[in-house]
Subunit: 340 residues, 2 copies
């Protein structure tokens, strides 16, 4: 079985974006009628999924995608906590409808109603709702809800602890995933995403988060940002900072996906990172949608790179399935309930 | 001949830091007497160089280091433009003294008196002084003088153009190098440095800087940040943004060093990046000073990784010498004047 741990609903029906546009317009015009989520039919959802994520999932040979709202559209920096909460709820409800229509192909992970400077109370509530009521198995946590200003506390700060307590209680992991950038220095998918991945990992080295939360689990997407390429630097920095070896200090709790869009990058990833810490992911349909002229295949068809690895099939099944079931125990429970 | 393109004077005599400390103290106490650069004897410089950079250069088998002030101590975010200018001048003058004492082993690259929000007039003047009067061959340009707030314009913005005009006029390259981070999210050498490298490269993809300055040359240090590991992503993003292929659009003007502290990272670098774009560098004595328990050698002894590459000696000489002489024509001229 092949589980893609990283998919977003980047092709949601137009009414969903119209709701967002109206909501954003309302920020500047408080006299406007409150925006309401658009009417979206099941057929519209089917159309957008069957011609995109489901088609590609089947063409490429994956079975199940861990599916969440479009990351670049989370826009936690837009408006206040109420705007974020309303938008987040609509986004998550839409994911739940996709999962309801295709329960064998998709399982939900939620966006959180984060907002710059706001407490995490609303995020805790929404996580609880999505897991307990909608059957979601994880969440996407934004380490920089400001969208490129980076003025929240590091992920190891006690500010985040109430949220982590809820994650542990519900036994769900978080993918660390920023949203759009409103800082002109940072292209969203070309700089901000990758920088956030690298930044989070280094915060975990500096801190002692997993001493306080030994059961907490994070996926750092996009192949772990710059980390595997600079694995010697991070091992060396841990040593200089008198931290324990990374295997003990960080890698019991942190996992990387395979959203690295060329074979040499994937080769490096599996060479330096323990296979138990790698989860198959593609982030399709996402940041890079074209065909690589060097291979004739889609850049984000990451299954091809894993298939091409000279490692035993049993090791590939760790990347494709077993690690995801371990990191997402609620996913494992769903699959077991289906006899899978 | 082996040229290390990336060395900082991280071991400067204590009087140099005392000057900085007094200068920083003076920011809060305008009544204090102005700080003045400390008295440093030639013997003190010899002591700090011969027991560190020169010793390691010789032990590891390099010949010449392109040498600049300690990057993490540039501290452009500290104080105002006057503070930055005074500190920068002292730092560069100290590099000139090292080069004067060891003209066969070191050649100078300057720090710039950048300051958040300030125009680049002072940086242009200092670059001119360092190149014309001190014989320096390049500079370190900080894309984020705020130290982790990232509130300057991107490197492709016309704000930077007067400085680029001077670089082209003097025919010197810049290494893009941030300094310390005052943002608790970003560990300096573990996140801020690598993020800046990645960010700068993506800015070059988005912009058209090298159309306006075809002769401008940048070194992106630390192996190009996350870029080579995500080379497929960057090729794909250039395509999605309808930019020309990277080889034409960016890689005629941008070079990566080899400050990647493990063999698999270097293997990836030389696999995906054209050898003409790679300059040998170690950044020793720098961010990672320990011994890798997996190899028994220093993490930052990057020459070992290059030596171990299964490529012809002629290709290694491009990485070790020829590319540096092409990117730093003033260095090449100095070497030629010595018959090298």
């Amino acid at each position: 079985m092949i589980i893609d741990c990283h998919g977003h609903y980047t092709t949601a029906p137009a009414a969903h974006q119209r709701f967002r546009d109206a909501q954003v317009a309302g920020i500047k015009d408080p006299a406007a009628a409150p925006a309401r989520p658009g009417q979206i039919s099941d057929d519209e959802i089917r159309e957008t999924i069957e011609t995109n994520q489901l088609k590609l999932q089947q063409q490429r040979g994956a079975d199940l995608t861990i599916f969440s709202p479009r990351a670049s559209a989370m826009g936690h920096h837009v408006g206040d906590g109420k705007v974020s909460a309303d938008w987040t709820r609509a986004c998550n409800d839409l994911i739940a409808r996709v999962v309801g229509l295709y329960p064998d192909n998709f399982i939900g992970v939620c966006q959180l109603p984060q907002s710059p400077g706001a407490a995490l109370t609303g995020s805790i509530r929404e996580l609880e709702r999505c897991v307990s009521e909608l059957g979601f198995v994880g969440c996407n946590l934004n380490p920089d809800p400001s969208g490129g200003r980076w003025n929240s506390p590091p992920l190891t700060d006690r500010f985040w602890y109430p949220f982590y307590e809820k994650m542990v209680e519900l036994d769900v992991p978080a993918m660390i995933h920023v949203s759009a950038s409103c800082n002109p220095n940072f292209h969203a998918t070309g700089a901000h995403y990758i920088n956030a991945d690298t930044t989070a990992f280094m915060q975990f080295i500096e801190g002692d988060l997993f001493r306080d939360f030994p059961a907490l689990r994070f996926i750092i997407p996009h192949g772990g940002g710059a980390v595997p390429y600079h694995w010697g630097r991070y091992r060396g920095l841990a040593d200089m900072l008198k931290r324990p070896p990374l295997r003990e200090h960080v890698m019991k709790n942190v996992f990387f996906d395979t959203c690295v869009y060329h074979q040499p990058g994937i080769d490096l990833l599996v060479k330096v990172i323990d296979l138990d810490n790698i989860l198959f992911g593609s982030e399709m349909v996402g940041a890079v949608r074209g065909i690589d002229p060097e291979t004739g295949h889609y850049f984000d068809d990451t299954k091809r790179y894993i298939d091409a690895l000279p490692i035993p099939a049993a090791d590939k099944s760790r990347i494709y399935e077993r690690n995801a079931r371990r990191v997402f125990p609620r996913l494992d429970a769903v699959l077991r309930s289906k006899g899978l």
